[in-house]
């Protein structure tokens, strides 16, 4: 590592932040763009499983709340893509890389949603897992990204309330409704446990080393378990992992997540990966004339 890069590394490890116009080491810039791009892609692809349920929402209030939630996610995609664009990668290129599979998006958005129970579980637990990761970006060494995280985290707080409300309505409803939640939880637990990534020590995680994020993968997963397993249990739901338990030291133990599944899914082999990308590609192509018309 050359001296200037070493100095930069020391600066960010001391809590220093940089702007779009500052000198950035190549390695930092590349890793940053890749990380931010994956985040933006995830917000954009995360819209697709949820928007089906906007159309099927069973009350006017739920329809409004779910539309607003998904709208926020599109808004987050806009904020995050803009940050990546200012780092030098054009939006069109990012969309092309997403469609071709060159760029990735988070595992949870490669899975199907089957019932209204999924709507609740996603807003309650999947969003919770995402918020933990997002909070770890609030002090990102790259300041433009840190700043948009503030708006993103504020908007996510509405999503948590919505998710909780959907789940509680189901859990205080009929037996069939409670069963919707348990069944959805059974399907989502595996992907949730994989979501924060394999437990690479944070000193070996470039995202932490460069202070892009302030927390390692396992730390995030522990935070999720600590916050949400008690909530799951207090509702009388069971977690489909017989080895899940909290030790006296406050550490959660659990069955080894399926890392092979995670790898396979994020490389585009998830149950819905290809058809969601195709859906996105279809509308990008179909509406290209609109972007051309307004640019003229």
């Amino acid at each position: 590592m050359d001296a200037r890069t070493q100095e930069f590394l020391g600066y960010v490890q001391d809590g220093g932040q940089v702007e779009a116009t500052d000198w950035l080491p190549d390695e930092y810039r590349q890793k940053l763009i890749k990380f931010i791009e994956m985040h933006a892609n995830s917000e954009l692809m995360g819209v697709l499983p949820e928007r089906e349920w906007i159309l099927k929402a069973p009350t006017l209030q739920r329809k409004l709340a779910l539309t607003a939630k998904v709208q926020d996610e599109v808004g987050h995609a806009q904020l995050i893509y803009r940050v990546a664009e200012d780092l030098g990668k054009p939006r069109d290129e990012m969309f092309a890389d997403l469609i071709s599979g060159k760029a990735k998006f988070h595992n949870v958005f490669h899975y199907p949603t089957k019932t209204w129970g999924d709507v609740g579980v996603i807003a309650w637990l999947v969003d919770a897992a995402a918020i933990i990761s997002q909070k770890a970006l609030l002090k990102c060494s790259y300041a433009p990204y840190a700043r948009i995280m503030k708006k993103i985290c504020w908007e996510e707080s509405f999503h948590i309330l919505h998710g909780r409300d959907v789940i509680l309505a189901l859990m205080t409803g009929t037996d069939a409704q409670r069963e919707l939640v348990q069944e959805a939880l059974n399907r989502w637990w595996g992907p949730l446990m994989q979501f924060h990534g394999n437990p690479i020590p944070r000193e070996e995680d470039p995202m932490f080393v460069w202070r892009i994020k302030s927390q390692g993968n396992e730390e995030a997963r522990q935070q999720f378990l600590e916050g949400y397993v008690p909530q799951i249990w207090e509702l009388g739901l069971t977690v489909p992992d017989p080895n899940l338990r909290r030790t006296d030291d406050g550490v959660w133990e659990y069955s080894e997540p399926d890392w092979a599944e995670l790898k396979s899914v994020v490389t585009g082999h998830g149950p819905r990966s290809q058809d969601r990308l195709a859906f996105r590609a279809r509308f990008l192509e179909q509406e290209q004339w609109v972007r051309d018309a307004i640019a003229a």
Partner: protein, 94 residues
Amino acid sequence: MIFEVFRQEKKGQAFAHAGSVEAPDAAFADAWAREQYGRRGESEALWLVPRTSIHAITEWADEFDLKYRRVDGYSIKSRLAEARERASAKSSGA
């Protein structure tokens, strides 16, 4: 075109940079920034400025260390302590 968005959260507060939108012109930027930065009624006002109109200043020369221009350039505390001491010595009779 990129439009920078400055946001005033409450009346009387300063406008702070909140992000940017890509739009073909000011009319589209208006229509879009309104919703991206105001749909929850969270902004009192917005300023939209084409990025090309922003003139940034990020470098400064401070070679001669003119401390009097900064608050930390004055040693008020020690002199005040000394002045008070003198005043009390005088009033308690020399």
